[in-house]
Amino acid sequence: MHWNTGYLKEAIPIIRHFVDVYRDSEVVCIPSSSCVSMIRDHYPKAAEETGDVKLIADVEALLPRIYEFTELLVNKLGVEDVGATFPHKVTYHASCHSMRSLHLGDIPYRLLNKVRGLELLPLENIDQCCGFGGTFSIKNADVSSAMLADKAVSVLNTGAEVCTAVDNSCLMHIFGSLHRQRTFVRTAHIAEILASESLGGAK
């Protein structure tokens, strides 16, 4: 958030802390493609700007151990069927970072297609940003709302009961509108769907 909003020097202690906390982790699993993008796309440069040789080396050592949640399942663990059951109509929203930064491709689909009872409905205009954009949602609230209006229409047009994604930031934003409008549609992070075991499903 700080880096993206232009508070570049304020982001450095946060980056140092992150690198510190996960220094000895074999694998870091992150259920958010925008966070992973920050680490992959911006940590190396941010570290370079500090000129701190140790930080630069630490970031380099950290990068290969960073996995977005669905990447971890499919790429690292080689798992597509996690044994989940989620008998609902679901549509998948591809967040900007998951598409353009992480190039997740069909990884989330491969996981969702193995969920028992789940009916996956395609989202139109899937490449259109939902309008969250971090602090953009406040700094340019009007335009953000306009973009969200389009995304909400696309979600409602699918007929799905649940909208899912690999980013809770987008989902918080999309749900904000779906709930305000008192629609019947709710959002659930893909991890919640994949964790569902019984016909009860994720709440």
């Binding site: 700080h2 508070y7 946060i14 906390v21 900007c96 971090g134 340019n140 973009m147 969200l148 904000g176």
Partner: protein, 486 residues
């Protein structure tokens, strides 16, 4: 006239955007036009098996030029002069306008022809000439529409994209005195054609821009869709080109890249209908006098900025504007500058040395759609973040900025995020602090001050009473106590 046009460039993006979002006709026009071009672009780009390599090459050539800009500009000057052209160097808009003025005054004319040139819009050439009793007739259809409507361009390739056919018809009826005018595209273009044709045949001075300046040959190239360019480049006695210094490319051969990527990116065509290339003058054919004005106007200071230098790779295709989900909602006028959309968000503030347009780097959700379509691979999101950094630095230099809600908020957040126990404490405090804001629905529907921007159309789920970490810790404790495992 709308507040926006009256106070062009003075309103910040959020304010201008709010005014434009209320105009549903405008939004429909913009959405339709950008959709059409985007689809056409996708089709012709999809036909090329080596599109990504073309982007790589285009980017490499442009980067190379920027690293050797002085050499290539001098080479261009030498070759253009040898071919019979005159090269002038203009440090800024003022100097450029004075040069153009004196060249026109030397011909003792009161009217001249104009080809669409965003560079001349950038320096406000037409207004300046009008102040000196010289009227510049725009001959590009969209620029003609803008001129007759006393409007401002809203897109670098299709400047009148915000107007639909009916609005154009009404304008022509009024300004050209054609009460019987039909509303079909053929009727409108026929009207424009007659209106313009007599000017092409009568006027002896034309001002244009340039798509590329070719260092190797001293040549200039202009690509266009309508043919008005061809008229203005060949018929008049005196031709004056105003070109940004970054327009230069090394060799004639390099056009091979840009003549594939530019038309596909700009209008979704495999080739522009008219492609004009000339060097200097030729006795008995075309203009007798040819001038190129090389314009800096803030460009060379962008060169010094390692991160933002890539801004100058731009070949003015407008693909970023068509791809941008923010531009799609507001159109170009929200940016208060001839350069709008993603490229405008990075170029405009830099041309003003960050003294104007400081809200523009924030006019983006950083979605990256622009970078994806840019034929010369300008990493616009990266430059946006870099410029945001500059804006924040400026803000933190003033007491007002330091004590402003954004800075205070971000400093506090930085503190909270820097240590686990601080985040924990903040969450616990948040659970209590949010209570008065939770509505009967169980959700937060109204937040104060600038946070009200969120709740104007969105509800917010309150902070849960138990965080994931707290739930996990509890679960761990329960498991180690010997309870049944899952």
């Amino acid at each position: 006239m709308s507040t926006l046009l009256e106070h062009w460039g003075e309103q910040d993006f959020p304010t201008a955007a709010r005014e434009l979002l209320a105009d549903s006709q405008l939004r429909k026009n913009v959405r339709h036009a950008t959709g059409v071009i985007t689809n056409k672009r996708a089709k012709v780009v999809g036909e090329l098996p080596d599109w990504q390599q073309l982007r790589d090459s285009g980017s490499a050539v442009r980067e190379h030029v920027l690293s050797h800009l002085d050499e290539y500009l001098l080479q261009f000057e030498e070759n253009c002069t040898r071919a019979g052209g005159h090269v002038h160097w203009a440090r800024d808009a003022e100097e450029a306008k004075q040069i153009v003025l004196s060249l026109i005054q030397a011909q003792s004319v009161k009217e001249i022809l104009k080809i669409k040139s965003m560079t001349t819009e950038e320096i406000h050439l037409n207004q300046f000439l009008d102040e000196h009793g010289i009227h510049a007739h725009e001959t590009d259809l969209a620029e003609l529409i803008i001129q007759l409507g006393k409007d401002k361009p809203s897109h670098i390739v299709v400047p009148a994209l915000h107007k639909n056919r009916q609005q154009v018809r009404e304008l022509f009826v009024r300004e050209m005195g054609l009460p019987e005018l039909g509303d079909q595209p053929q009727d409108l273009t026929a009207a424009a054609r007659s209106y313009l044709r007599e000017k092409f045949l009568r006027l002896s001075v034309a001002v244009c821009g340039a798509n590329s300046l070719i260092a190797e040959t001293g040549g200039v190239c202009i690509v266009e869709s309508e043919g008005n360019g061809r008229m203005c480049l060949t018929l008049p006695k005196v031709l004056i080109s105003v070109a940004g210094i970054e327009k230069v490319i090394p060799r004639f051969q390099d056009l091979e890249i840009f003549w594939q990527t530019l038309p596909r990116s700009a209008t979704g065509e495999r080739m522009n209908p008219y492609n004009s290339l000339w060097s200097g003058i030729h006795k008995g054919d075309g203009p007798e006098e040819f001038h190129v004005i090389l314009l800096d106007n803030g460009r060379s200071s962008i060169l010094y900025d390692k991160e933002a230098k890539q801004t100058l790779k731009c070949i003015r295709c407008g693909a970023c504007q068509n791809a941008c989900p923010v531009y799609k909602q507001t159109g170009g006028h929200a940016y208060g500058s001839v350069y709008a959309g993603p490229i405008g968000a990075i170029l405009t503030p830099q041309l003003h040395k960050m003294e104007q347009g400081s809200s523009l780097p924030y006019a983006s959700s950083l979605c990256g759609a622009c970078y994806e379509v840019c034929p010369v691979k300008i990493n616009i999101p990266e430059v946006l973040i870099h410029l945001r950094g500059k804006v924040v630095e400026q803000e933190q230099e003033t007491l007002e900025g330091k004590l402003g809600p954004w800075n205070i908020g971000m400093q506090a957040a930085a503190q909270i995020f820097s240590d686990g126990w601080k985040l924990d404490l903040a969450q616990k405090a948040g659970r209590i602090g949010q209570k008065p804001f939770i509505a009967k629905s169980g959700f937060i529907e109204n937040l104060p001050w600038m946070l009200g921007g969120w709740t104007q159309v969105r509800d917010l789920r309150p902070l849960p009473q138990q965080s994931f970490r707290e739930w996990w810790a509890e679960r761990e404790k329960a498991t180690t106590k010997g309870d049944s495992n899952k």
